[in-house]
Subunit: 337 residues, 2 copies
């Protein structure tokens, strides 16, 4: 079917605007402090896992999981910032389940957010977990013993096995630069690459160059602020950074009346494979997976199991179909050529 | 010296305005969720430590230390909020030193901020600290052994000795309600009570009733916000909640040119005993203690020692003079009556 040339031209113009906005954002962003060391560990991680499990026992795939909220500084010497609520629970849980499913995981997370294998430990002072014995050896009270030992054992397995790379961020500037670096280095993985974009990313920001240099003074009365929109990077990720990867994004709303419609819009607009729609009031109990072939409601099966377990199982299955389909398309192309 | 009656009337009117603003703030704030249990543990803690060290070996005093930044929700079902940068390092360190000096400490802290005795442990996943031995016993690598064991031992001593009460907050609404509860229950301690107000408190907020109910939508373009000033509660604390306590507040600025002048202003305006002035660029290395009798610069003496140690020593001395002076004034009043 022929596409109306004026619609195609409009879409192209919109794409160009998005790309220009993204370029402007990166140009103006304060550069990532440890860019070189991040780039090196990233290149090493992707190279080690690029072979795949073509019989060699390598990982099922490589997934980039983003987690926690990004901050928007309001002052260059940052005292105040706007933050997005996100404990990081979902991303930390998904990291555990994807590791269990045989994936290598790049975990881009907000500093201080929930970490894999730490979810069931007390949130505040971890010192509450420990006691000193008579010979000042470290003891864990019986009540916590299993959970602490399982956590240490699983965590060590992931780290020592080189299957988990953790990259922390705080600001929206750091987050988007990290995402760009990870996505472009994962591009070589083709369809075996996957993105689970669970971070709560700011929609608005103050461009670095127009930001107050010093702390905003309170004496002058009410504060008026104008914030710009953050460019929609999902679109750029899909179009330029990692076009063959399997992309899952999340849509969180507090108003259930607009949720699914906004998820459908994101699916089409950014070319996601799946958009997981969740409502703030019950996001731990039920989510809706929106794809181009329909909607699937996923409900938590019991109090003891978290919803991320089921979600991961479904996503692993869909990703594996995505790989198979791509391989067979490759195969057909080869046969035709 | 007689005070000009018009100036006295102006001051009284300003005080009334402050009190009205504070009342309006508390009336509109969403009520603290666990208010009753906090009130109970607070009453118990203060009662246990109200006897003082009149030879009975009780604590030198009771100090309320506030720590970490407060958030300002931008939506009632909170997804976005404005936050103040503060790791909580200073409050956590001061808590350790005041406990060591024999004080009982009420630690009002931002959830997830630095905790006493945890400052020297790795910030991210605490699982990095541990290994499992052959019989799956928990081991700490030699390199961290001393620091972890000291932390556990000091922490248990404070908690088991009933000398440390930890009260967490997230929003400005929670913080100010907690501060009011703590200050009014500490009022019975008279001059033995002390406040070290190290929390980074928001200057601006969105009143609860004028807040967006649902998540603010990004599709409509740039975001314009108007924020109101938070009432100056230091003034109310000094005037109404705990008038005899020894009060120390902090002033943080990024611009050194206005720092000391703003600290002097806070000292007079809010009736503080000490204002500790610090600059964001070097607050770990040097601070200036501003009092009515002058300024004292405190510099970190070595890389190995933190500045909070010296600061605590000076403040303990000043608080003890404050108590002695009050006792001798009491004594004189008794003799005169």
């Amino acid at each position: 079917m022929a596409v109306d040339p004026s619609i195609a031209a409009q879409a192209e113009a919109a794409a160009r605007r998005s790309e220009e906005a993204a370029e402007a954002f990166f140009r103006a962003a304060p550069p990532l402090r440890d860019r070189d060391s991040v780039a090196a560990s990233l290149a090493d991680f992707v190279a080690r896992h690029s072979a795949g499990n073509g019989g060699a026992g390598g990982p099922a795939g490589v997934i980039c999981i983003t987690s926690g909220g990004t901050t928007v500084p309001l002052e260059q010497r940052c005292v105040r910032y706007i933050d997005n609520f996100a404990s990081g629970q979902r991303g930390a849980a998904a990291t555990e389940y994807f590791l269990k499913a045989g994936y290598a995981v790049i975990f881009i997370h907000r500093r201080g957010s929930k970490q894999p294998y730490c979810r069931f430990l007390p949130e505040e002072s971890f010192l509450d977990l420990f006691e000193l014995g008579e010979d000042s050896e470290i003891k864990v009270p019986q009540s916590h013993s299993t959970v602490v030992k399982t956590a240490i054992s699983n965590y060590r397995k992931a780290i020592d096995g080189g299957l988990l790379l953790k990259l922390p961020f705080t600001t929206i500037f750091e987050y988007l630069q990290l995402l760009q670096m990870v996505a472009t280095s994962m591009n070589c993985l083709g369809h075996r690459g996957m993105f689970l974009l669970a971070a709560a990313v700011s929609d608005f920001y103050v461009p670095w160059e127009s930001m107050a240099k010093h702390k905003i003074q309170s004496a002058v009365g009410p504060l008026n602020m104008q914030l710009n929109q953050v460019p929609k990077m999902l679109f750029i990720l899909r179009k330029n950074w990692a076009p063959s990867a399997f992309c899952v994004s999340f849509k969180l709303e507090t108003d259930p009346n607009i949720l699914l419609q906004k998820a459908e819009m994101a699916l089409k607009k950014y070319g996601m494979n799946v958009v997981v729609a969740n409502e703030l009031a019950n996001y731990k109990d039920v989510v809706v997976m929106v794809t181009s072939s329909g909607r699937t409601t996923v409900s938590r099966s019991s109090k003891e199991e978290d919803i991320e377990k089921q979600l991961t199982e479904l996503l692993v299955k869909m990703h594996s179909e995505h790989i198979t389909q791509a391989n067979s398309e490759d195969h057909q192309t080869h046969e035709l050529s």
